[in-house]
Subunit: 209 residues, 4 copies
DNA sequence: CATGAATGAGTTTTCATTCAT
DNA sequence: TATGAATGAAAACTCATTCAT
């Protein structure tokens, strides 16, 4: 019994941060009330302030605490293999969608876009800790393809961003236009075509003609 | 003199809506104070309420009033010509960037993403009036390419979304990560490569091989 | 034409005051907007300020200007005749109801009761100019009855107030509970019984027994 | 100590409602500021909103919460005894004045008259819960007197209203013309004469003559 | 004289934050 | 630790009043 209670107690900050993140993603920072966060986490308003100094601190903690563990897992996605780059690209996209995009972490980019004006430091942190790292990995992947003669000799850092564009867009569209999405294609179909188009677009064979 | 003043007077609501849109895009709906909007428009707080019933009404009006005139111009971008589809694609993307993406209208998508949870009707309106129309135009363009034998036989509506992804992403990134954008490529370079990759990706020649 | 226009112009202040009084009676001083008064008087908001210095001044003017002409007429109601006092009482009550109580002047007491805390001077004026005068007249009437041996020897000033109570109450009830007045008796019946009860109550014959 | 504090805490809403009623009666609904209510109740502005949703809700609650307990006590005033009706009438009037009229509850009628245009539902509630009940009781009392051969055969419901008129009027005059009441007779004298006049006016003995 | 657009002081209302229990 | 009542600063909104035309 003591053990269960202990565990509960220690999990509190995490539960609060998770509840906060969900609500921030859904309604934005300003429109989310501490009361709502407390209610969703099943604690009282005062308890929130026991673990977090302020609403702003809670925002930053919620974003960072939720991203950090995911980052480690994500890193593993980009094992520098000797596989064909097109295959790696496909695996990267689908792996990301499964592990991150389709989970509740997928809401973070939308949230940071929305609050970019109000939380410059958090945005900067996210950019460094997540975006830059992901871009670097994708850049390496593309350079790997170029080196293998598989891909055309394009500007890899620019191409990396173009590869991320469908992933980012799908994520944000899904979260923002939920109500009017009769015809947003399912993720499988969307990403299959996206990878197909990008791989063909990058392919050296066509250009060789 | 009288004429100038008259013009000023009649322009008031538009000036206020424009000021409001700028601030909403920058700081979000909740973090924007009516006082700030009034100050930016060069009027007093009371004047804002002379023309708009509430902050919410101002939000809706700002979005719709700014988009409507642009929509008409935008429609003209998609003249159903007999040109090669790849050329049309390039012209569409660059025309859009010049006329919309790089202007203050480019902030609207970011704003609606941010406030999607709080303004479902406005988001729905935008989806119908802007997104659906743009998707339809792009779908036609791709089908045109397929019909000419220029493009592969892909699912045009899905491909249309993939084409919009870099445009949407660049817009949003630019507005959201201004501070940490040392290495976001300039629009010209980004869109040149994006169009290049997508046109190659769609091209029927490679597949024919 | 000029004549008509002139007349219209000169009548403006009175029209505004009348419109104001109606609205003040209906909604109270604070809940009445200058815009509404202007609209009801068929002029613009600025015009109201052409004739009245402030909303408070308009309140006072509306009350006083509407009461003054009525006061003169009312004075005539109490001709010190040699008639039986009971008859005079009956004539006074019904005459008052016809000339004042049932007209739009009947709203003034309710208004002054409502605003007594906010307009002490106007209330004081009304008390002196109207209530005191009316009480004095009624006191004289009762003393006349006592002197004739018709009425018992009661405290005339107190009895005068008791005589006014049904008149005042009917007026106020009528204006305040309009909505739920299924069973407020018609004025004729109410005042007939009131005069009957009071005349009998004052009558010396019963006491003589 | 804990007990005292507890009691204090639970009494808060009632204290606020009481403070509100006092001020509403004095200055009217619109002219009363929430700040003033809070100050008089000895709490902060925010605390008022802890217990009441809005100023309007506070108005309704203040009226209803203050009247309800009084209604029960009041009901007991009209024990259907076998006493002479004239005695019952006297007891009713003086009992009412002691228990209600002279207390802070006595301000409610004035308040509802003043705000009748703005709070139709509250006025309707008061009419049903208070006025109709009181009229019914008084009507029964008069019918009792008629049945005993003590009173003349008058229309009892109309007479009931006439009996209430001095009570209502004295209440309202007292609260509205405080400043200029040099010569309003004291309650004892006023009601003694009122009861005397009405009892005589209703008496069957005189009519028999 | 008449207008109505513009103003800004004053009020209601919300909600992050504190603190006694 | 945990609670939730209490606070008050900050923001939306109203409307009497002014003034250029």
């Amino acid at each position: 019994m003591k053990c269960l209670f202990r565990r509960r107690k220690e999990a509190r900050p995490g539960e609060i941060a998770a509840a906060a993140l969900d609500l921030f993603v859904d309604k934005g920072f300003a429109a989310t009330r501490i009361d709502d966060i407390a209610a969703r986490a099943g604690v009282s308003k005062g308890t929130v302030y026991l673990y977090f100094d302020s609403k702003e601190a809670l925002f930053k903690a919620a974003v960072e605490a939720t991203m950090l563990p995911a980052l480690e897992e994500a890193e593993a996605l980009v094992a520098d293999d000797a596989k064909p780059a097109a295959d790696m690209l496909r695996e990267f996209v689908f792996g990301w969608w499964q592990m991150i995009g389709s989970t509740s972490l997928g809401g973070v980019p939308k949230l940071l876009v929305a609050e970019s004006g109000n939380f410059p430091e958090t945005v900067a942190w996210f950019h460094e800790a997540v975006i830059d790292r992901a871009l670097a990995a994708m850049t390496r992947l593309i350079e790997h393809g170029i080196a293998r003669g598989e891909f055309r000799n394009v500007a890899a850092p620019v191409a990396a961003r173009i590869v991320f564009a469908p992933m980012f867009s799908y994520l944000v569209w899904r979260r923002s236009f939920e109500q009017c999405l009769r015809d947003l294609p399912p993720a499988d179909e969307f990403f299959a075509l996206a990878v197909d188009l990008l791989a063909h677009g990058l392919s050296a064979r066509e250009a060789a003609k």
